[in-house]
Symmetry: C2
Subunit: 228 residues, 2 copies
DNA sequence: CTGAGTACGTACCCACGGTACGGTGGCGTA
DNA sequence: TACGCCACCGTACCGTGGGTACGTACTCAG
């Protein structure tokens, strides 16, 4: 059932003057992205045919291949848009927060919200790595959601006054991001997402409290004692 | 270039007696799995054609579809084998360890080794979720690698004498598993895997030390204070 | 008014997953 | 030992779907 989406049709010029042609072009491109996003979310990348996409957008494959280099390119464009929305959403939640711990909490909460969106789970988490390859997948991550995590970790580390070099900071961010992704997935698939979300918040909070406690007590990580 | 793998050919009975027929059958099935594993690892699921698999195994599609219900089923069989090997490898590393913290460390180290295997990264981490779907993917995880993580977390929590219910324990395990997966991926793709592995061990050790410090100091997680 | 190039539509190719069916040889049975 | 059955596998074929080559209409600069 190819969903049809309303789209500008070159009949009467909507806005006369500078480039009506390009308006139609942008409209069809956007429509293709919208339809593709819906189908990718619903059936996944592999089970979505380009015929279904162009049928939903009420165009032909000629139009699709004019705007995108192929199916993978179309997916990547959709992928980028979804990640951009997610990043904007999270960044918005951080507005106004001053305390790094508070920012971390707000960021986590908003991420747990985002990860419950079907499109994010399906397109970014599930199909993303396989379609884009881990190389490009991590490139995309780096300059979107993951980038936000890096900033938060940097802020928190600054409060703790730990002397982490840039590499170590990225390692921590990577670990936290992986933890959040997995946690988010468990939240999204849980029978009661709300309860599960609370559990995750509690667990992560538990871990972070450990950092604070350790900073206060000035303990030495036990399995770093036997360094050779 | 379809790699050909040596395989039993029904010419002279290798071991006479009980069921030579089944030996040939098992041999071809195993050969199909071996070839498929190699091709899936090298080119990925989507870019691997069944023609290439049967060519490498020196059989035809008739044989393949006799043993497996389809391409996805073939992949899942390969997937299970890889995960079983990984689980065995990690369990082996835990043998003899008594102290839970020590077990955690050994398990982490072995996991970081496993995650560097190209077949595990490509088949399990990269293509697994997309091909099997998140449902089946997590089912498989649950009774293999992730199950080991749960046991380790349970042991460690027992030492800390924290009263975690089963749900919370699973949440922690989920988080740690996600952290380890992401960390493992960063290790595998790093320019210097050894150094990266050390960083991850240090970071995770850092976090776990936080737990110990917190257990000693009996602090309260800060963002759990404002419970409503 | 006209050339040029954008923005599509049309027709087609072919790789690849899947299926239907045919055959052959081992293995239990009498 | 003869025989029939079924597991095991080969052969031939189809349909879907990604990708491509090429034609066309419309727009805008000059």
């Amino acid at each position: 059932m190819p969903r049809s989406v309303s789209r500008l049709v070159p009949k009467v010029p909507a806005v006369p003057g500078a480039g009506r042609r390009q308006q139609f072009s942008a409209s069809t491109k956007r429509t293709l992205l919208d339809v593709a996003e819906g189908l990718f979310t619903e059936h996944g990348y592999a089970a979505t045919s380009l015929d279904a996409v162009v049928a939903g957008a009420e165009v032909t494959k000629g139009a699709l291949y004019h705007h995108f280099n192929g199916k993978a390119a179309l997916f990547e464009a959709v992928f980028e848009r979804v990640e951009q929305d997610a990043t904007r959403s999270i960044s918005q939640a951080l507005k106004g927060r001053k305390d790094p711990w508070e920012k971390a909490q707000a960021g986590l909460r908003q991420f747990l919200e985002v990860v419950q969106e079907p499109r994010y789970r399906r397109i970014v988490i599930q199909d993303g790595p396989a379609v884009l390859g881990y190389e490009r997948y991590r490139e995309q991550e780096e300059r979107s959601t993951f980038g936000t995590v890096v900033e938060i970790v940097r802020a928190v580390a600054g409060v703790g006054e730990w002397d982490l070099d840039e590499e170590m900071l990225h390692t921590f961010a990577r670990i936290f991001f992986g933890a959040m992704s997995a946690a988010g997935a468990s939240v999204a698939t849980a029978a009661e997402p709300d309860v599960a979300a609370w559990r995750v918040e509690a667990a992560i909070g538990f871990i972070i409290s450990g950092f604070q406690a350790m900073a206060d007590a000035e303990v030495v990580p036990p399995w770093l004692a036997e360094d050779d």
